[in-house]
């Protein structure tokens, strides 16, 4: 007793200090880990389910434990019996197009709206901005009608009657959305944070506007371009409503999210089993496969992402 009492003063101060810091720290980590697991639970569930056999999958309903891991679902999914690779290629074509075109428009337009001074500029900007107030659904149906009534396309005559226009054709998936006002706004804000001195110095050296954009501004726009890349890649990869509207009738141009819906219930059919029940392990292989590219892309680009968001959302 006595020994302990004399011993304690020497030990207690650091102990007390640690006690003050550590439990809070541990609680923080526990909370973070639990919450992260909740957020990622369906993903983990999907990965585990996709490598389970049908028996293992139903054994523990709250989380599938693959006692005998199998790649059957994955090899079936990636084999020639499903058109997933076609859908991936289609989606990548669309994503590439919808990253490059809106990026060019946003860089050029953002430059004009921020760095060039001329009459009518701000009126034009407000005109563009007003559209952000309206949800896309307002013009979705008429745009669908426009695609269907496009003159001289898909059997249509000059007045757009008689055929089906661009419906179920590639142009319907590529022709809208080149001008994205959100990105124009984002790039205008980013341009306005860059001082004009850089451009003036380049112009003294004889550079034209395109040279200035390419050599002076483009390197400084990288974080904002990364944000555009991530947003657009995710948006196009997951775009469901518009492809559903305009491409349901043509399997060759289906994108991943549309194809996913069509293939989700056909696991048992592909395996030659009675299709009375849903083949969950196959469904989860398909779901995991559809999500994977986005997660990999995000993990690679994550560190530029917050920086890029900061560039236009805080300074701007």
């Amino acid at each position: 007793m006595q020994a302990q009492a004399t011993f304690s003063p020497a030990v207690e101060p650091p102990k007390a200090k640690r006690r003050k810091v550590r439990p809070a720290r541990i609680v923080l980590y526990v909370v973070l880990i639990v919450l992260a697991l909740v957020m990622a639970f369906p993903l983990l569930f999907g990965v585990a389910g996709s490598i389970s056999t049908a028996e293992d999958y139903i054994r523990t309903p709250w989380f599938p434990i693959p006692y005998t891991p199998t790649l059957e679902n994955w090899s079936l999914l990636l084999s020639d019996s499903t058109p997933v690779w076609q859908w991936v290629v289609n989606t990548l074509i669309r994503a590439g197009w919808y990253i490059v075109v809106p990026a060019i428009v946003a860089v050029m337009g953002g430059y004009a709206l921020s760095k060039l001074k001329f009459r009518g500029r701000d009126t034009a900007f407000i005109y563009l901005l007003a559209s952000l107030m309206l949800p896309p659904i307002v013009y979705l149906v008429p745009t669908y009608v426009m695609m269907a009534r496009w003159p001289l396309a898909g059997g249509n005559n000059l007045l757009g009657q008689g055929g089906q226009g661009f419906i179920n054709e590639w142009p319907a998936l590529l022709i809208t959305g080149w001008v994205n006002v959100f990105y124009l706004f984002m790039f205008r804000q980013t341009f306005s944070t860059i001082p004009g001195d850089f451009e003036e110095a380049a112009r003294v050296d004889g550079a034209g506007t395109l040279r200035c954009l390419k050599d002076v501004y483009l390197p400084m726009l990288k974080p904002t371009l990364v944000v555009l890349f991530i947003f657009q890649f995710v948006a196009i990869w997951n775009d469901y409503l518009w492809p559903l509207f305009v491409s349901t009738g043509n399997k060759d141009i289906w994108t991943m999210s549309l194809g996913f819906q069509m293939l989700a219930n056909s696991g048992n059919y592909l395996k030659g089993l009675p299709a009375t029940t849903l083949d969950y392990p196959f469904l989860f292989a398909l779901a995991t496969f559809s999500i994977l590219p986005l997660i990999i892309m995000y993990l690679v680009l994550q560190r530029f992402f917050v920086e890029g968001v900061q560039g236009f959302a805080i300074k701007g």
Binding site: V31, L32, A36, M39, A40, P42, F45, G46, I58, P61, M108, G109, Y111, A112, L113, L116, K117, F118, R119, G120, R121, A124, Y127, L128, M133, L134, P135, I137, V138, Y139, V141, P142, T143, V145, M146, T176, G177, V179, V181, L184, V234, W237, N238, Y240, F245, S257, F260, Y280, A287, I291, L294, I295, Y298, L299, Q302, V306, V309, Q310, A313, I314
Partner: protein, 306 residues
């Protein structure tokens, strides 16, 4: 006159420079504005015009019906229910999501090991297509052998039949949407938190401020602009709730969880009634416009008061 010539030349260069800006400005903006008008203004006005008509969209031409579609939207009880559902979902999801995002961003802004991975976990649901995740979620709420019901059964509790119980279906739709939508606001709040100068905290700590005070008097006020941004842009997203409802409840039971976007979709494509679909789109557009304006008004006043 060595002094006059350069000034004239200088003036000319300056004039040409100014001229160049207008020339290049319109060279860039003209195609953008033309394209934009073609794909925005034209559909917008045809949507407006079609909302006063009855038209199947398949054949024939639109028939003028005046305000009939709008009257139906605000008197037919099933359409009123749809508007109320949309408002309920939009507000509930937005508030829960924003509060959660704020709290989580504070946690993720701490100096912790593996911060990148924790942050990524919060963004994963936002990355994934709602179509896919709703399919996954439906596995959880399936009446027989669904994850939730299996757990309830093993705990000796009665199972919940989500497809019949409206209240639970709504809860599931809200939880699902929050889970999916919280990632974006978390990133925005993180960006805002990192924009706060650490010196502010240090100065306050020197003056004897506690952790709670730092949060109350520095972090909260400095994050107000971001909160306005998150709420205003957020309501535009949450009011357009579509996939969660389409894939989990299809608006059921008895249309009681249906929302405007899904109703518009069903009217336009399943019921072949472009007229009322267009009216629905205009109603949604107006609701969003009003709520954004109210949001901006109320929140900016609150900011001035505090």
């Amino acid at each position: 006159m060595p002094a006059g010539a350069p000034s004239l030349a200088e003036r000319f260069t300056r004039w040409r420079f100014r001229h160049r800006q207008a020339f290049e400005g319109w060279l860039i903006l003209t195609p953008i504005l033309l394209y934009f008008s073609f794909f925005f203004l034209f559909p917008l006005f045809s949507s407006l015009a079609l909302s006063f008509t009855r038209w199947s969209g398949l054949s024939g031409s639109p028939v003028w019906v005046g305000l009939a579609n709008y009257i139906r939207y605000f008197s037919d009880s099933s359409y009123v229910q749809v508007i109320l559902n949309t408002a309920l979902f939009a507000v509930a999801i937005l508030l829960i999501q924003t509060a959660l995002a704020f709290f989580i961003a504070l946690l993720l802004n701490e100096k912790i090991k593996g911060r990148g991975l924790f942050r990524a976990a919060w963004y994963v649901p936002t990355l994934t297509s709602a179509a896919i995740m709703a399919q996954v979620a439906s596995v959880f709420i399936a009446p027989n052998g669904g994850v939730i019901n299996s757990v309830l059964l093993s705990l000796g509790l009665p199972p919940i039949i989500f497809y019949v119980e409206v209240g639970w279906m709504r809860v599931i739709i809200i939880l699902f949407s929050v889970w999916r939508g919280v990632g974006g606001p978390v990133i925005l709040y993180l960006a805002a938190l990192q924009g706060i100068h650490p010196e502010l905290y240090e100065a306050a700590q020197v003056d004897g401020a506690r952790r709670r005070d730092l949060l109350r008097y520095i972090t909260l006020p400095l994050l107000t602009p971001m909160t306005i941004f998150v709420l205003v842009t957020g309501v535009i997203g949450t009011a357009q709730i579509f996939e969660a409802v389409m894939f989990m409840s299809k608006g059921g039971p008895a249309n009681q969880t249906n929302v405007l976007m899904l109703q518009i979709y069903q009217d336009a494509f399943a019921n072949s009634n472009i007229g009322i679909a267009s009216a629905g789109a205009i109603v949604l557009g107006l609701l969003l416009l009003v709520s954004s304006l109210v949001n901006i008004r109320v929140l900016s006043r609150g900011q001035i008061a505090s």
